[in-house]
Symmetry: C4
Subunit: 177 residues, 4 copies
Amino acid sequence: MTKAARTKPRLEDKLAGLRMAVFDFDGVFTDNRVLVLQDGREGVLCSRADGLGLEKLRRLGLKLLVLSTEPNPVVGARCRKLKLPCVQGCRTKAETLKKVAAKNRIPLSDVLYMGNDINDLECLDIVGLPVCVADAHARVRARSSYQTQAPGGYGAVREICDKIVEARTAMTRKRTP
Amino acid sequence: MTKAARTKPRLEDKLAGLRMAVFDFDGVFTDNRVLVLQDGREGVLCSRADGLGLEKLRRLGLKLLVLSTEPNPVVGARCRKLKLPCVQGCRTKAETLKKVAAKNRIPLSDVLYMGNDINDLECLDIVGLPVCVADAHARVRARSSYQTQAPGGYGAVREICDKIVEARTAMTRKRTP
Amino acid sequence: MTKAARTKPRLEDKLAGLRMAVFDFDGVFTDNRVLVLQDGREGVLCSRADGLGLEKLRRLGLKLLVLSTEPNPVVGARCRKLKLPCVQGCRTKAETLKKVAAKNRIPLSDVLYMGNDINDLECLDIVGLPVCVADAHARVRARSSYQTQAPGGYGAVREICDKIVEARTAMTRKRTP
Amino acid sequence: MTKAARTKPRLEDKLAGLRMAVFDFDGVFTDNRVLVLQDGREGVLCSRADGLGLEKLRRLGLKLLVLSTEPNPVVGARCRKLKLPCVQGCRTKAETLKKVAAKNRIPLSDVLYMGNDINDLECLDIVGLPVCVADAHARVRARSSYQTQAPGGYGAVREICDKIVEARTAMTRKRTP
């Protein structure tokens, strides 16, 4: 193995070694659109596919978290259904991410962050595996190590979950020949 | 006719001989998305085209059934409108499918199952005609004998209904020259 | 002018001579999808573009009508907003169309009908100008004289309104040189 | 610099010099579709991306305004969330635009108007920078100086905001070497 290969871990190794996965909400769990009703109440369109993926990560023991600047209770409603801890109306996402990781004694190098817009840049810059959706803002795509094939709200979360499970399974097989 | 053609019935024969059609709900009747409102209530987007197709199957005497793991009452609401019997919040879909078929004295070889995600694999594996939507999970597509051209929620159910009716009509014509 | 051109009027002449325009609702004013909420209430997605087109037809003096087999009150809600007379839960669309035309002393040859599914075939067959949306059922497309470029719910109604206005304007110019 | 280049300012100069941005609502903030519920209540689908862009324009000191002929309160609901002043149910958009500009002592040449349908033509014709969405009516596209790559409701507002910020930033850099 060359020195470069030793020091710069491959995507698969990064995925297999993850201990925590943090997600932005709008544009990641949704297609970044919001249904506005005439009384001001809001709704969002999410993918049923995401649930099965998150369930698998939970069984692998990964710490999960949703961080959203959006104050509308719709974020919390979806997270409750998916049994995801969630900090919403969060103005300092990167600070919150660091605190939760430290409290759980997880180094930021073992954290995945998945976002779609420029208010995710700070979080993407501090984690070991910055990920974005297919239809993320150009500046976000430029700063992510991995981009899902699915756009936000159409199974992007499920796709990254499946990738983590595959990488973990492949690693386990290698270790137990 | 060769021996192979005799033992492995063609798709048209399978379709014409069906006595029961079982459907997953999310991703089949819907585009696998869920509208989440801020109070946690849910909604789904279905196709008006499906109703006319299911009505035709009913007239042909096929037993119809919807099996869903999703606990939200939105599944039941749609099934009531379509006059479809439905078991929802169903954790053991394959077991339920077997019981209903047995109770109706229908062999599993005369049953169609239509799904879209990995929690449909067990059902797809035990029926005579496993079918999936155009945008099904890769593992589901690999295990299905037929894949609709329409994605879930955009007339996929109607498409398979039309195919069954066509196959039955063609068979009837052949028998009554 | 050849005899054929005299006896078979061109599309533009048909459009310019229309006195009544009749529309199916689902799949024409909508993308044929229905939002189903968990309490069974329904919603549909329509195009804001349609209103401006219908307003123009009204000013030209055309009789307008919506015929729908769907019993849900959502059809009436949209028609009230567009100020369109509407018969819903209508099982005998062709009979109703004939009665309304006769009552208004409009020959069926001067009527346009716009539909998308097989329960529109009877109406399409009796009017002078049968029209369908881009994403209509194959059997409906085969029986229509004109097919809009827009699919249902994405401005298909507006598109046909614009075409009628253009044809009428062109005809008026020809007559008043 | 040639005379033509001096007298006809480039798009970037126009963008950098803007003092007011006026938006139509339906088809610009939305995909021009309306959700109609069975009790007649309405909803629209907007993009979460727009908020971050409008916030930037506000910080640059631009006067913002939404003008809509649509009477439904859904327009006001979305504008309140985005903290945008809004005149809805507005039958004389061009007159209102002129009045607001005059009251704020902003020449119409420093105003951007963004629309999508033929009831926007009058406004587009009187402002310095007429802009439309990718899926605007053909007659609107023909009268606009700039057309966004995004269709309405999918970040078209954000796209024009980003362009204004870029142009302003580039101009500031040129002036302070």
